[in-house]
Assembly symmetry: C2
Homo-oligomer: 151 residues x 2
DNA sequence: TTGTTTTCCTACTTGATTGATAGGAAGGGT
DNA sequence: ACCCTTCCTATCAATCAAGTAGGAAAACAA
């Protein structure tokens, strides 16, 4: 039930890129968010391969978003760096086998997975940058956002 | 966002003990649930220290629950073996510091934490052993159980 | 009571996965 | 040509999963 450092760093990096006006270099990113520069580099490679970031080399280089911040969800970022959204014993949640008596446990992990998906797939980077209008992040209980927001 | 093997094993062990009529030995537990015996032993120690299991040695020895299965929640077991319910970068979710731009991210992890807590703190071992009457585990969306179930 | 069996308990060791690092190699601007 | 910045690969360190070995305690039998 733990969020890996890789996932947390990836989201913070995406938020910093989304917030900046132009391009952002990896070095500036690491300094602003206080994360190990070399480790951040390997995370940026994952985000670039997932088509979430566009990297440009050379002078005046840096990273930009491939899509508007309102069209990138937290779930997109998590899946890019972590593979599956939730895992049990290293395996994807839906593909973990359980013996006889513990069959009901599988449903618990699936329910946890669905609740998490409800949150991260409905929250966009733009929502996080405007704290005033992010209903998801504040409500402790309830469904969250009413607007359908069809993906 | 991953459930550790330790947590998964601990819950399966607790379910097997709850389901058995009398005492259950660690060896029988490992065999029935197909988990490494020695690793299970270290997990049982955690469960015993958390006052969830009572171990008895000697012939006719084994483990039993310290409380009825209906009074032990999934959350109790998770916290016993994992410390905090959810962690970000190894730290408890509520105590992770975030710099300027990523402040909104903290609320996301807190919301995830609350949703997970809603599930695991309301689901008891008895619920999991009666698949017919476990509303939590089946519903993909919604609040789950209506009865207040005051702890 | 003594011995024996059964089981729980503790400490240490190995292997694998993840977090983190360093040093180039390739590409864009000037 | 030169410099800067992103990219890639190989490597180190730490943590967790898993396994091993050797007691310590409790129940039963003689």
């Amino acid at each position: 039930m733990q969020v890996s450092a890789r996932t947390d760093y990836a989201l913070r990096a995406m938020l910093a890129v989304a917030d900046a006006p132009g391009r952002v270099t990896a070095a500036a990113l690491a300094r602003a968010q206080q994360m190990p520069p070399a480790f951040l580099q390997s995370i940026l490679v994952d985000l670039r391969r997932a088509e979430l970031l566009h990297g440009r080399r050379g002078g005046e280089g840096g990273y930009t978003l491939t899509r508007p911040a309102a069209e990138i969800t937290v779930g997109d970022v998590v899946r890019a760096v972590n593979g599956a959204l939730t895992t049990v014993r290293g395996l994807p949640t839906h593909s973990a086998a359980y013996p006889e008596r513990a069959a009901g446990l599988r449903d618990v992990w699936l329910a946890v997975h669905d609740r998490i998906a409800d949150i991260v797939d409905r929250t966009t980077l733009a929502d996080l940058l405007n704290p005033a209008q992010s209903p998801e992040a504040r409500a402790s209980t309830g469904t969250g956002r009413r607007p359908p927001t069809p993906k």
